[in-house]
Symmetry: C2
Subunit: 343 residues, 2 copies
């Protein structure tokens, strides 16, 4: 057991009988030093258990080799998965992930972003386009490259990888309308500070209107992203004056809640009620062969965000916005019930 307080590069250099700068080069740029000196330095580093001092390196090189990511919460499988993918791809490129979350609280998000900027991240990954002006100002002024994810911001000036939540929702709603449903309801996550939820609702509204269905205010329920909350909202919908024949869900967590409540109430899906999900998390697909859902390549978003950012940091140029493919997966016909269910 060594007692000394972690070897420095100067220790390695001395042990290898070379100068500080040679040691530095040998480790950083192996091909520029002679093979035997490189070997000597590496051997010394190995022997001393040398671990480079990131802060010093960052200070001198002006790069920290860390990327910051801010997600609403990890307690949602879609962000857990995309973050996991982000982490992997980043690690493969030699970057370490600095993670923050804000629970959909804008002021928390600002604090988190500030913390990441202060830690000197080389790049930043955010979710969605909804961020306070302060957040944008901070990032832009700091000059740190960043990627928005989960939404694409076609008109906006920012780099983004994701998809149009509005168009995806349109696709979902068109499908349901074409299947003949007249009374459609939607369960959405809270829309405040959440452009994805808002766009999904907007898309559904738009497509329904175009198809001649008007969603009454009571047909769109905003709820927390939890199974329990979705069940509660479902009870509300199923006991309304006008029971819908189709429920569109802002994401699969909500869809699972709807399905569970239907099972509990003996409502047959999709025979009596059609349920359509969004995001396509594994669990929902497994538990509901009947669930038609809009599939989103969750992990791909994280991976591409990492790859794009790394590319940009290496001076390569990437397309401003990049769309990942989403598609409706119809696992079973969701035709409207021939008879209106008795209430």
């Amino acid at each position: 057991m060594q007692r000394k307080a972690t070897a420095r590069l100067s220790d390695v250099a001395r042990a290898a009988g070379v100068s500080l700068s040679t040691a530095s080069r040998a480790l950083a740029d192996p091909q520029v030093v002679r093979e035997d000196t490189r070997a000597a330095v590496c051997a010394a580093a190995e022997r001393l258990g040398y671990v480079p001092h990131g802060a010093a390196r960052a200070l001198a090189s002006r790069r920290s080799m860390t990327i910051g990511a801010v997600v609403p919460t990890l307690d949602n499988p879609i962000f857990a998965r995309s973050t996991q993918a982000l982490q992997r791809s980043l690690a493969d490129a030699g970057y370490t992930l600095l993670l923050g979350s804000h629970d959909y609280n804008p002021s928390t998000e600002l604090a988190v972003v500030r913390a990441l900027v202060a830690r000197g991240v080389d790049g930043l990954v955010l979710v969605g386009t909804d961020h306070s002006p302060e957040v944008y100002a901070l990032i832009v002024q700091s000059g740190i490259p960043f990627e928005l994810t989960w939404s694409i911001d076609a008109t906006g000036p920012h780099y983004a990888v994701g998809f149009s939540n509005r168009l995806a929702a349109v696709q979902v709603a068109q499908y349901v309308c074409q299947a003949g449903h007249q009374h459609i309801a939607m369960l959405s996550g809270f829309m405040a500070h959440n452009d994805r939820a808002r766009d999904r609702v907007a898309g559904v509204r738009e497509a329904c209107a175009a198809a001649g269905r008007v969603l009454p205010g009571s047909a769109i329920i905003e709820t927390a992203f939890s199974i329990a909350a979705a069940r509660s909202a479902t009870r509300q919908l199923l006991s309304a004056a006008q029971v819908p024949s189709a429920i569109l869900c802002g994401n699969d967590i909500l869809a699972i809640g709807v399905l569970l409540e239907c099972a509990a109430q003996g409502v047959s899906v999709p025979k009596q009620l059609s349920v359509v999900g969004f995001d396509d998390i594994e669990m929902a697909a497994e538990m509901a062969p009947a669930l038609t859902t809009l599939h989103v390549p969750t992990a791909q978003i994280g991976q591409r965000a990492a790859e794009r950012l790394v590319a940009r940091l290496q001076g390569e140029s990437v397309a401003r916005t990049e769309a990942v493919p989403v598609r409706l997966i119809v696992r079973e016909s969701s035709a409207a019930p021939a008879v209106v269910r008795a209430k």
Copy 2:
């Protein structure tokens, strides 16, 4: 829009008309400078959009205000939740989380830990006690305080917050044995490099043996942590020569898979088959009112790990190991079926 490359502390000091060190103190230790100078410095910092340079600060102060965490994967609700809680508690204390994952690959874990150590984390959080000697050596030599989570390491020398997976599994198995089950099977995650999975199987084995049940080798199936894999394993169990009357699951993901497969095959739970889970994730509880499960306070583990680490970094002393409360939640009787099911 400012063009300058981010204000430094010296800029703030000049703008405020004080020296560098006064500016530093005003920001770091507000109570030690005169109120008006503090105000002047803060105003200047605000005006210039000053963000401290973490690397420089870390280099000079020898603290980075970052904590590293390494999880097997975020793609498992239990780790997503505990990591989320960890992040929150850390942020509350002014620390930022540096995250790594290794997908149950020991060499990846070593690389990740090395990266975190190199980034100068002030503390480290690991999952479980299974880590390569190199990992332990690296951390110990670096002198970085660390917490093991999800397991407690009563005999070991390390700080840990979690619970005895073995005893928890014993509790589960005892319950099932007392309910009268004779033929018990278990689904486990892969046990290599995973002390939690191993301990859970060991606990079940131990309790079953004590109760006079011997689990044949074929009754314990190691499988990936996915619903699909669990379903496949369930098919195997249900078509075996000796069909079990109870299936114990190494965690709730597996339990969900079992339940879904049972539903698909028309096997009634718990009437024909008793299923017992572990970890108690929200989804499992919601989808299966019949699921008896061992509840683990997932978020609490993350939170306590953060709090303990922060306390230690502030020089407070904490108990070497800390147990979080786990308990069996019996949602519905899992009495053994009176008649052996026909195969």
